[in-house]
């Protein structure tokens, strides 16, 4: 029994990057697709609130898992990510890429353009095109508002009432931060409430629906291609995951995310979409290895 508990802990804690994204349960994921395709409801965050929510979630995440101390590495990952994000339909978001200092292999996308990637994942990648593919997958979730839509659909009526009555001038001090800190300045009480509930609900730990992951993989390949990277970078990263995890994907016993092997099969079918457009796609292995040690 103990070993089962540990196995479950492992499945969640060290699930594959790009698979256990910060996300929602299966049903919420389906709702996200329906909501994204259907008519907009009034129960939606403004972009300002979306960014604030992402910041509050990021602050909490970094409270659990510290930033990697290498400033050069942080800036490098931000440059790769920003360049890719500039080729998305939400280029104007305040894109922020944070490397957390942990052996866990994972990557997370917060609403509003905050992406978190573990150093454990980075050091298993082989070149900048693979990094661009990984970041592009997370960027795609934000562009498609996968997590945001899931969060919105999970909020109760009372919450939206509080959004309506909240005063923009509200300032809140949150744990560990000084008054007037980055979070305090931008976060309204209802955003902090939402972030707190989302975290307690285990939001960081739940995978998205396979359809959303496939969508993010395909958009990621397009974004990386637009940015001039070798479009096979994401496939390379997935192969690493398949290799690392043993392909059969033990984590899928506990969650609904697709295995790297399934995702590779899906990607193979998609690659012809971009192949005709390539002109001198770059891998940038040397630059990657200078920056990721």
């Amino acid at each position: 029994m103990k070993s089962l508990a540990i196995a479950v802990a492992f499945a969640f804690a060290a699930g594959p990057a790009l698979a256990i994204d910060f996300g929602r349960i299966l049903d919420a994921g389906r709702q996200a697709v329906q909501s994204a395709q259907g008519s907009p409801t009034s129960k939606e965050f403004s972009q300002e609130d979306e960014v604030a929510l992402g910041n509050a979630l990021t602050a909490s995440f970094l409270g659990a898992s510290p930033l990697h101390p290498d400033a050069g590495l942080q800036r490098y990952v931000n440059r790769v990510g920003k360049w890719v994000a500039l080729h998305s339909e939400r280029a104007d978001l305040p894109w922020t890429f944070s490397v957390i200092d942990t052996e866990t292999i994972n990557a997370f996308a917060m609403p509003g353009g905050s992406i978190i990637v573990s150093s454990g994942l980075l050091k298993r990648l082989n070149n900048e095109a693979e990094l661009a593919g990984v970041l592009a997958h997370e960027i795609a979730h934000v562009v498609r508002k996968h997590q945001l839509t899931a969060i919105q659909s999970n909020m109760k009526a009372d919450f939206w009432k509080s959004v309506g009555t909240s005063v923009a001038a509200d300032r809140v001090k949150i744990g560990g931060g000084a008054v007037g800190s980055t979070v305090g300045n931008i976060a309204k009480p209802y955003i902090l409430d939402a972030a707190g509930n989302v975290i307690k609900d285990g939001f960081f730990l739940r995978p998205l629906d396979r359809g959303l992951e496939t969508d993010a993989d395909q958009l990621a390949v397009v974004l990386a291609t637009r940015a001039g990277y070798d479009p096979y970078g994401l496939a390379g990263a997935l192969q690493m995951l398949a290799q690392y995890k043993g392909g059969g994907d033990a984590a899928s016993l506990f969650s609904t995310h697709p295995s790297p092997t399934d995702r590779l099969a899906d990607l193979e079918r998609f690659m012809p979409t971009v192949e005709g457009h390539l002109k001198q796609p770059q891998l940038l292995e040397a630059r990657f290895k200078q920056n990721v040690k």
Binding site: A14, N78, G202, G228, A235, G236, Q243, Y244, Q282
Partner: protein, 165 residues
């Protein structure tokens, strides 16, 4: 809590050991090329289910050792050993743990676990309290548009127009 963290570190370590196994199989008949390019010379044709050892990745190609012969195969033409066999032999969740290497190489992993490999537990993420200073620091590393454009030019990244529905 400490025990739990150690247990997780233990598991991470085991999977790191598994990472060292570069065994793969061709998932179809495929050509072993002398370079990572479609127009490279074909060294030989590997039948489906040929066992290879992965040594490197490069874009859409994977470098392998196929029975002593080195060459490149397409990234999509490989599969990796799955936990399926373990599930068949053991069944249920017990096989999951064995597939992850639980119970094997105990002495080795105990040693590595004490060197302090850190993981991120579900509890860590559920009980996280916000660190505003860390957020501010993370945001200080952002790249602005001109910086990203300069970075792209340095890397000879040339933009491509591709639509997405």
């Amino acid at each position: 809590m400490i025990l739990r963290r150690l247990a997780i570190a233990f598991f991470l370590t085991l999977s790191a050991v598994a990472w060292g196994q570069e065994q793969a199989f061709t998932n179809r008949s495929t050509e072993l090329k002398d370079r990572a390019a479609p127009d490279a010379a074909t060294l030989k044709t590997l039948p489906e289910n040929t066992e290879v050892k992965v040594t490197q990745r490069s874009g859409g190609w994977t470098r392998v050792d196929a029975g002593g012969q080195q060459g490149w195969v397409r990234v999509f033409h490989l599969r990796f050993p799955t936990t399926a066999q373990a599930a068949e032999s053991g069944g249920g969740l017990g096989s999951l743990t064995s597939a992850l290497g639980f119970g094997k190489q105990r002495s080795q992993t105990t040693t590595i676990a004490t060197t302090g490999i850190r993981g991120l537990s579900p509890e860590d993420l559920k009980n996280a309290s916000p660190d505003a200073a860390a957020l501010a620091k993370a945001q200080s590393y952002r790249a602005d548009k001109p910086t990203a454009e300069r970075f792209a030019r340095d890397g000879k990244l040339s933009e491509v127009k591709v639509d997405y529905q």
